[in-house]
Amino acid sequence: MKRRTLLLLGAGTGTLVALAGGTLALLSPGLEQGRLSIRGREMFSAVARGVLADLLPAEPAARSRAVQAHLQRLDDTIAGLPPALQAEIDELVTLLASMPGRLVLAGLRTDWPQAGEAELQAMLQGLRVSSLALRQQVYHALRNLTNAAYFADASTWQAIGYPGPNPV
């Protein structure tokens, strides 16, 4: 990945860029050929557990299938975005999936796959009410992408009482 800054993510990023930006090129990419990398998938699986919680099926096998389908829809959602926004998501996922990005930007001590639901939700709440614009932007980006992909699919509508399109 060529050197980029996080300016696209907004103002107030000086500390973060100093901390992580210089080494961004050394980190594993968040997207590979426009699709989430393995680390990216681990990260968004964890975010889904935090954001969607009880909306995901309770039974483990069904839950796992729902998360896999959700990750596929996330890929589709990202692929539908213009190149400038895909590049921003690539940066975001690259950073968050790395240890320094996870610790400093997200404030999550446990690695994504091992993090429990309560820990993930504490992280989300920290981002949500952070005094740093960048961390608030991360909250909204993670949550918006997750909800856009999750509720895109008809299989998720029954749980929220939405009947789907009208017959025409």
Partner: protein, 537 residues
């Protein structure tokens, strides 16, 4: 997939000249009388009038051509195909999300059909502050009337859906005036899916009215074609230089297309139109290009009712209140218009605050959820100067719109007004769209809490569906980018015909304001280029 007749498909089969995307490779060059960039509200009206005058027209659209057979009322398919940035265009700091169309028909293909003439006090402000003495109610009335007839704009006689009915009821109980919204529909099925493209062709968007009229008269439509820049030589625009793009906006191939024209009309919508002029380095001696871009920043409030609301069902916006636009003078504390938006899972889940158990509870109450929104009337006060359009390193546009304390003060009043109306209508609970707001079970608790909420970016949910300004019209070159006849102050054969003309926001959903103003401008342009007087069908 809709099984109804598809007039666009029928037109293509009749021999309409459509190229780009799945319709065939773009030509290397095209020569015409007028190149029109965009196919939305301003472009559609312009294309119908110019072709009626016998002029050859090429329409250049960045988005794809989709029509009723594609409109299957599924958000995940509609947003990437029909909207800028998959219905998630954002301001530079990402504090505001913007709904804006990007397909043939532009935002008129996906809007919610709300039709209002430009308010009198807005026109007066333009006359007083932008030297536009010709823009009076009387002068504009015939232009609006023609458009209203052409697009079947009129009263909607079906009772409002439950979502809108709660606005009417709550306002009535508080003695706040509310009224019915005129709609541009013909034989509407009352489905509520307007935002995903009308599957029955009832909505009289540009897609099914003016664009087909222009294509029937021989206009050429280039789709999935981005106008990269204007070729300017010796003080005149010679051509529009274009590249083919995929549906997601990425450049698809290296072959460029040059559209050579006597006159160029830019109507790509506010944000994109000023960006095209910026990329083209058009003269901007007064530093006004891209400045004063307005959004009607929107804040929202949801309520849970005992009975089903089913906000996805029925005509999306049919009741409004302008009460809070009239409390203060137009150039005083910011006023707001109230409406009741449609609710579908993707947009609703993104707009509702929270995550985890809280969000799960809110989504499980989705069928009983009612929503109100407030459009803040920006641009009439020195502390509401709007935003400005710049360019990213890849040339794509980026709107910087700082939310000021002045706007947030109005946003707080709007959250209070909406909560009071929702409780008056019988809400069990009300939740302002704010990251630190709880769900309130009575008006007293809501009033106290909303009164002290921190009104800041990211914490307060702010969205927009109306982008205006950036190529403002004015009677003097030092006040605006565009002359009162729609032509650029420094480039005689360049016109701008879209919402970017507006010197302020409108204070109402802008589609009819664009139609009416552009009807006047395009009629004049047709006359000056062809010598013929024409009118909309």
């Amino acid at each position: 997939m809709s099984s109804l007749p598809d007039p666009i498909q029928a037109g293509i089969e009749r021999g309409w000249k459509v190229l780009g995307g799945r319709h065939g490779a773009l030509p290397e060059s095209v020569v015409c009388d007028v190149a029109v960039v965009g196919t939305g509200a301003g472009a559609g009206i312009t294309a119908e009038l110019l072709t009626a005058a016998g002029l050859s027209v090429v329409l250049i659209e960045e988005g794809p051509l989709r029509s009723s057979r594609d409109f299957n009322q599924i958000e995940a398919e509609a947003y990437p195909a029909l909207y800028q940035d998959s219905a998630n265009r954002q301001t530079a700091d990402k504090a505001i999300s913007i709904l804006q169309g990007r397909c043939v028909g532009g935002s008129t293909t996906v809007n919610w059909t709300s039709s209002f003439r430009t308010p009198s006090d807005t026109l007066k402000y333009w006359r007083d502050h932008f030297d536009l003495p010709g823009l009076t109610d009387d002068a504009m009335s015939p232009w609006f009337l023609q458009v209203e007839q052409r697009l079947n704009i009129g009263p909607w006689l079906v009772p409002p859906n439950a979502n809108n009915e709660r606005l009417r009821l709550g306002a009535a109980r508080l003695g706040i005036s509310a009224a019915a919204i005129l709609r541009n529909v013909k034989a509407c099925w009352n489905l509520g899916s307007c935002g995903m493209g009308c599957p029955t062709n009832a909505k009289q968007s540009m897609l099914v009215t003016t664009i087909p009229a222009a294509l029937d008269r021989g206009a050429t439509l280039l789709v999935q074609t981005r106008a990269e820049r204007l070729e300017i030589e010796r003080g005149a625009v010679r051509a529009v230089l274009c590249v083919p793009v995929a549906v997601n906006g990425s450049v698809a191939g290296t072959r460029a297309t040059r559209v050579q024209a006597r006159h160029v009309v830019v109507a790509g919508g506010a944000i994109n139109s000023p960006a095209l002029l910026l990329r083209s380095k058009v003269p901007d001696p007064h530093g006004l290009l891209g400045r004063r871009t307005f959004l009607h920043p929107v804040v929202a409030s949801t309520a849970i009712f005992e009975e089903p609301i089913e906000g996805w069902h029925g005509a999306p916006q049919t009741i409004y209140s302008d009460h809070f636009l009239g409390v203060d003078p137009i150039d005083g504390a910011i006023g707001y218009k109230l409406e009741a938006p449609p609710l579908h899972p993707v947009l609703a889940s993104i707009t509702l605050p929270g995550f985890g158990a809280g969000m799960a509870r809110a989504m499980k109450d989705f069928p009983r959820t009612q929503a109100l929104l407030a459009l803040l009337r920006d641009g009439f006060h020195e502390q509401s100067p709007g935003g400005h359009v710049g360019l990213r390193s890849d040339g794509s546009p980026l709107l910087d719109y700082p939310l000021t304390d002045f706007v947030f003060e109005g946003a707080r009043r709007a959250l209070l007004s909406m909560a009071e109306i929702q409780f008056a209508a019988g809400a069990l609970s009300v939740t302002p769209m704010h990251e630190m707001a709880a769900s309130f079970s009575n008006w007293a608790a809501a009033r106290q809490a909303i009164g002290v909420l921190p009104m800041k970016p990211y914490l307060t949910r702010v969205v927009s569906a109306h982008v205006m300004g950036g190529c403002g019209m004015a009677g003097r070159a030092e006040l605006g980018v565009i002359r009162p006849d729609g032509r650029h102050w420094q480039l005689e054969n360049l016109s701008v015909h879209d919402g970017s003309l507006f010197p302020t926001s409108i204070g109402a959903n802008p589609q009819l304001s664009i139609y009416g103003l552009v009807n006047m401008l395009a009629s004049g342009l047709a006359k000056s280029l062809s010598g013929r007087s024409v009118a909309l069908a």
